[in-house]
Symmetry: C2
Subunit: 231 residues, 2 copies
């Protein structure tokens, strides 16, 4: 068996035995590599495998930590993010990084299929128990939400649409795939550049018009998506 695999199994065993508990920090890479008698590169290989599996996560230049349970993101539930987090005993927070108005020409291709004029954009970070776990870019059709930027943008957008604009979403198209964080996203999430992620893209329609386009980049070990359907 490969050396990094042995190291990964060793650490994974300590986690599953409870020697290392969620939230605790691992020893430094230099220290661990010495203890396990492998080079630092080999150890790092083991750590990144464990991270891909969701057992640990790295905070860039700070260290490695044992992961808490995955956040269960239920696509069927009407509950918003903060409510879902609360029902799982987690503390949620959303930070607005940036916002503005964008011309139709600058919008992502998948949005332009449905909406070609101006749109507001938001860049937000979602946290769980203080840890940033998701970067999102939200686009909202400008004509549907006049004066958007004066509203509170650190809460549920669906709630804002419903309460402040009386817009009810009646159709949703979702796409999920594996992707790579770009350097800015990685920096905002305090992870190493080139970390991969789970990308969720959603188009939200009201009365057959696209009003919201949302691209979410989740740290892959932090989330599990669930859905159910009658067939």
């Amino acid at each position: 068996m490969a050396g990094y695999q042995e190291a990964a199994d060793h650490i994974a065993a300590q986690i599953s035995k409870g020697v290392l508990k969620p939230g605790t920090q691992l020893a430094s890479e230099r220290q661990l590599s010495e203890e396990l008698n492998i080079s630092r590169l080999t150890l790092r290989s083991a750590l990144t495998k464990l991270e891909a599996d969701g057992l640990i996560y790295g905070k860039s230049r700070c260290g490695w930590f044992v992961s808490p349970p995955r956040f269960v993101y239920d696509l069927n539930r009407k509950a918003n993010y903060k409510e879902m987090a609360q029902s799982q005993g987690r503390a949620a927070r959303i930070d607005l990084l940036d916002s503005g108005l964008m011309k139709g020409a600058g919008l992502p291709a998948r949005m332009r299929e449905h909406h070609r004029s101006k749109a507001f954009y938001l860049h937000r970070i979602r946290h769980l128990d203080g840890r940033p776990v998701m970067f999102e870019t939200v686009y909202l059709a400008a004509d549907a939400v006049p004066g958007l930027l004066e509203h509170n943008l650190s809460d549920s957008i669906t709630g804002l649409l419903a309460n402040d604009y009386r817009i009810e979403i009646d159709w949703e198209e979702t796409s999920v795939r594996s992707a790579l964080l770009d350097p800015a996203q990685a920096a905002a999430l305090a992870v190493a550049p080139g970390t991969h992620c789970l990308m969720i893209e959603r188009k939200r329609f009201s009365d057959s018009r696209l009003v919201e386009f949302d691209a979410e980049y989740w740290l892959p070990g932090a989330i599990e998506i669930r859905l159910s359907a009658q067939t």
Copy 2:
């Protein structure tokens, strides 16, 4: 900018410009690292980033290839895998690797919540245009499908249940997350051990009884999941 990032951008540009077309093999790692004046390790780092992003894929000990478009896996469509592939102009194949009967005690925890007695299991590999892209383990409640192993197990299971057993699935629960391939799965898919994957887990019910439990491990660059819903 980091050296591996420059190398990755360079190769990505060649792909998007069409200098490298889907399916073509890249030059060997040793050759590329010399051309780009970086160490082989740095080049490999660039290649694995590109793979995580779905632009290229590695076939273990054979080389690196430019990826074809992602297979669109539509969770709403009634179409089965081969039909979906055909409608996207792709040739699909399913190989049965192994099958047998398993005691209730050996079943995965998430299945045992619903079904605690014996179940048939299947290990299958799904291909697209000759390339293995997904490893799956299927469990079927033994009492629901007597004599299962004498049937054709290289085709749609849902179709088999409907046609041979008159079992109609009426409820489905799906879970999606990022995960790691174990060594046996990686070998079966001809990728490097420790490759990450997109895992789809499905429970299928008929008349409130679980009849099928399915764990699918997709190569992450090979698939995009889609779904839509009225809200």
